[in-house]
Subunit: 295 residues, 2 copies
């Protein structure tokens, strides 16, 4: 479940924060048709911290129904309070999720012991395997290698999603973490523009923003990396580069929201206070998305 | 309302996140008796991001009843979604708040334009004056001087709570912001160990963590600074220094929670994932709080 291409769709919602079930289903059908290796629902790209518990549950129900066992469903259950994250985990399990993602979101900066206790409590709340969602750009907490190794000893904690690094730095970084965790523990990466290098270095999975919108080209990159074909990875990655540049400039979150609108998949905007891209920026994002679709 | 000592109490809650009304009332009675200049309810110290909308409303109701117009009640209404922050602002107004505090909390990093739109929407949701709650240590967003100046032009935006700097840096920093905002706009500071210097430099208010637990010594420091008595500020601040050192080491949030327990005001712990201090650390915190009580 924590190997290969994990595709993270946006969660289309109305201005009041209600999930647009038909639009979400439309996005998910594309992922099933393309045969992604898993769906990462309600990730950072999926706006989980902008949705109520009831709407998050509804999104999982919609996804479980659409995927219908054809693709594993992994659901992010991060929340400020430990009991709330536990409740979200139980909701996700009851609604049909196959695995969980958990990020150490916080308002008050957390200690390693606090994060450990939080993960222990949430991992123990269900029988589902759990992936540590290490995303310092949004959580402002870095799960160190030492803490990943400690967490990997907990029942149900099966994987980590780390942030990818530039290709030259990946082999040593990946080996350093691999040396600390059990063989069956999966180490995967996010950060779309570093994904090729991360998988070539041995990363088990690509937790992918663009995979949630354009699964076919993301799968092409994934399969080339899984085959160890560095030349093909470089070729495909070079074709993605104009999109990666726009991701870095405008944020992947805002760009895929604009891209989903441009492709006619939803009319939803990101939740306020996040503003939709300006008309000029949205046009550039749409052009980059459309070009990447042809990869 | 945004001048002098603004005292920020903790919000005692049970393990399920329900506000302990009697304990909160007990803390607030101390602040009324000491005659603080305002109460800052549900600030960072008051765990606002760990409480549901219903519990935040209940805390405001309790506070409005206890304060009963004797001390202005300022309530923090930060939330991830703009519509949620607007709803919290309306709740606070309906429950008897006299002013609002708003921090640009976010999961997805925000742009200046997004923060401006958020503040415009929330400030326009009620008739209450609003203070910009600039707290980069928790929000990871810095409201620049230029953005404060832009926000100061909005109706209802009446003040800013900035983070204090070391005393030698305060006069220039304060003057630089003052030059950009209207005369009636109040510029105050948080960061207890910098508060004396910040007020001597002209800061209109001290948004104070320790003021929520030990209002008398905090008022002594405030009144000395308001009188321009630098020697007395230095004398009092020196007596506070052992507590400031523990604040810096263990976080003021954790220390005042332990202190409130040590003083017998509540038996509540901070909300998980935040852990109570270890027994040894709690004993050190209690000793520092008890010593500061005698200032």
């Amino acid at each position: 479940m924590f190997c290969g291409l994990s595709a993270f769709p946006i969660t289309p919602m109305d201005a009041g924060g209600r999930v647009l079930a038909d639009d979400l289903a439309r996005l998910l059908e594309r992922l099933v048709a393309a045969k992604v290796d898993s769906v990462g629902l309600l990730g950072s790209t999926g706006s989980y911290m902008f949705l109520s518990r009831a709407e998050r549950r509804r999104a999982v129900q919609v996804a479980a129904e659409v995927l219908n066992g054809r693709v594993p469903l992994v659901v992010s259950v991060g929340a400020m309070r430990t009991d709330e994250a536990q409740a979200l985990a139980r909701d996700a399990e009851a609604a049909g999720a196959n695995g969980l993602l958990l990020a150490p979101v916080s308002y008050t900066p957390l200690s390693d012991d606090e994060v450990f206790g939080h993960f222990e409590a949430v991992a123990g709340a269900t029988g589902l395997p759990l992936c540590i969602y290490n995303n310092p750009a949004t959580t402002h907490f870095t799960v160190s290698n030492a803490l990943v190794a400690r967490l990997a000893g907990l029942p149900n904690v099966a994987a980590v999603k780390n942030t990818g690094l530039p290709a030259p730095d990946m082999p040593a970084a990946h080996a350093a973490l691999r040396a600390l965790v059990p063989a069956e523990f999966a180490v995967g990466y996010s950060g779309d523009w570093h994904a090729g290098g991360a998988m070539l270095a041995g990363g088990a999975a690509w937790y992918s923003v663009i995979g949630g919108l354009l699964p076919e080209p993301a799968l092409a990159l994934t399969r080339a990396a899984q085959a160890g074909d560095a030349a093909e990875v470089a070729r495909i990655n070079a074709r993605f580069e104009p999109l990666w540049a726009i991701f870095r400039e405008l944020s992947s979150y805002r760009v895929v929201h604009a891209g989903a609108k441009a492709l006619g998949l939803t009319r939803a905007d990101p939740p306020l206070p996040i503003l939709p891209l300006s008309a000029a920026a949205a046009a550039r994002a749409a052009a980059a998305i459309e070009a990447a679709q042809a990869i």
